[in-house]
Amino acid sequence: MAQSTTLDKTTCYHCGDDCVAGCYSSAEKDFCCSGCKGVYEVLSRNSLCSYYNYNDHPGTSRQTINKRFDYLSEPTIVSELIDYTDSEKTIVTFYIPQIHCSSCLWLLEKLNQINPAIHYCRVDFLKKQLNIRFDHQQLSLQGLVELLDRIGYEPLISLQDIIKKQNAEPKDNLVLKIAVAGFCFGNVMLLSFPEYFGMGATEQSFRHFFGWLNILFSLPVVFYSGNGYFISAWQNLRNRVLHIDFPLALGIAVLFIRTVAEIITRSGAGFADTLCGLVFFLLVGKLVQQKTYHHLSFERDYRSFFPVAVTIIDGQSERIVPLSALNTGHRMVIRHQEIIPADAILLKGEALIDFSFVTGEAIPVNKTLGEIIYAGGRQMGQAIELEVVKPVSQSYLTQLWNNEAFTGKQDNRLQTFSERVSKYFIVILLVIAFAALLYWLPADPKRGLAAFTAVLIIACPCALALSTPFTMAAALSIFDRNGFYLKNTAVVEQMADIDTIVLDKTGTITDGDKNNLTLNAVLTREQEQLVYSTCMNSGHPLSRLICSYLGSQDRLELTHYIETPGGGISAGIGQYHMRIGSGKFVIGSREDPAHTTQVHLMVDEKYLGYFSFLQHYREGLEQIAGLKTEYRLHLLSGDGDYEKNALLSYFQDATQMHFNRSPQQKLDFVRALQLKGNKVMMMGDGLNDSGALKQSDLGIAVTDNVNNFSPACDAILDGSSFAKLPAFLRFSKDTVRIIHCSFMISLVYNLLGLSYAVTGKLSPLMAAVLMPVSTVTIILFTSLATRLAAKRRKLL
């Protein structure tokens, strides 16, 4: 009895998972599975074992079964994946989610040692991409991918190629603009210093020389670096909206014109230094705001989740077709762990489908012959054959993407605070400027013009325009550090406005489904088969979980089968007698009072061990439930309501919990809440939540591995940071408050400057000092205040 206790526990040399010594070993090193051992053997054969010297256990667990890459022999698919090809070489870029440490980098850049047909490999660590140049006459793309898979770095190949899209995006030359602006700013400052300190009468020729140089340096700043502001201001005018870019463009234009005019007429030194500084700081603010997570994508849909190609049976032979060529009437073969890409009728085989990603139903479902199986399910078990009844884009699940939430342009997002304020700001600014002009005009037209331009220069909302980007950038990096990745800075403000939280159940508040079930026994291949065959006959949720855990097995014929409700199964297979069930049923002892439910296994009176099953809610669900005083909480699940009682303690009452919701119903539910005037935050993880995530004011995808698939959303939350959500919500409110404060500070600066400007006696030195001082104050204030707020919320 309890054979497992006598075995030594150790850790896998490759991936570091716990494993049993002696089960899989090679060169006196223990491995948890044949996958990890295989990787080690490939590496040691090619003398690449330094891989293990850079980091302890650099590999990732390889327990998933071997995948098939036959589809990569299809020329149509290959041509879509590669970047470039000619008669000799092919260049391809893969996205490899497993890249995580220096060992990965080292190994992937040494592929040449494994196969000399690979000429060149370069890893982009942050993007988790591998660029490979290889000789396609000696090595096919399929061979290359299989090689990568063999060493534990399976590339993620999907229909929605994120890499291509990223690379196709026009390169923003913001950095170049900043470089030019910075270069001019520095030189102009240098040339303006003599003016600040005063120059003697003998040095007048220098004054003009410096003046003309300043104009020369301002030209690229205005027409190259600053052109974005003019374009944006012009679009604002045409669309009849007032954006903060409008007064900025006005300020830049006025600064430039007045500088040129003053230098040409030799009436003054101009404001070239202020102008260059302004553009430089503004562009830096823009750069700070542009935080991108290269390894994350917020735009994924079902195409990222579905396979690239599928095997179909054509007469007697099997062939592979790209998903786009899959039509109704095709007969397709789906193997263990593969995803069914289109609605289809089951023709042959034992279907045990895991719909957890599509419907939220946690437990795999048995399907009988002739039943329609919806697309998106994952087959667990032996290969099945199905006939396609609907094309990929028209199936039950993918139809969701034809909804207006996806097709229509969405305009239910909030206006940001700065957008709302800048409207008033511009109106007031213009009123003051014209008032100053009209006041001086009758008496002294020259002074009137000076006052008018001075107001536009001094009130140019540089600090105002910078307060939001700098605060948001600081906030984003705080979130980022805590495993919460926002799509852009506007999301922070949306988050502060939320009053209703809708939670999905499976995968969102429960932990990943595989973790629920642990096997505390060592089973031989034959014993696994016996257990699988017995459990396949039972409709009990636990039996189905065990079946999906054991995966693809040949089903053996049963001689007899008795299922005792609440107890277990007693069955006979060949000469074996199986008993599977509760401790009381199998061994007659009471189960230990831990939280787990256990399923014990016994073959021919020999006790093998047990499966323990734990309905596991994510850590921190209590904290989230604690939010119910401030927010309305809803649970929205595609699952049956069999966990209702367990969850009741977390929610106000049963009416807050909604079960058996289809993807479309989820979307409609969120919309109904919004129509009632609520600002809804949706948290989900699967494709079935996609509609609701898109419709909501703030869609958060919860995932245990941020590199895995997550549906299109506004933010991605690492499952381990789930408990911090209340802190995130409070911190977002703090952030908005900080923005308000920094607006006030910059307004004070503006008023100070304005009181000088309206008199028409603005000196270049004054402008040159005021602008950087206000900017630096804002940057200091926002970054310090944000850090302080983060400390208070215990996020730092």
């Binding site: 010297n53 370069r122 660590f125 942050l126 170049l176 470089a179 270069f183 040095e203």
Partner: protein, 53 residues
Amino acid sequence: MNILYLLIGCSIVLALAFLTAFIWAQKSGQHDDLHTPAIRMLLDEELEEEEER
């Protein structure tokens, strides 16, 4: 004092040279991936030599 014209001219030419160098570096993609080279330079062939010894 007329030497200032030459000096300022020189300084601007020098600064322009640096700006051009930066623009060239940016355009040729040297700043595209700032993270990987930092790791790559820590990986060397020494580990293999140690094994051989």
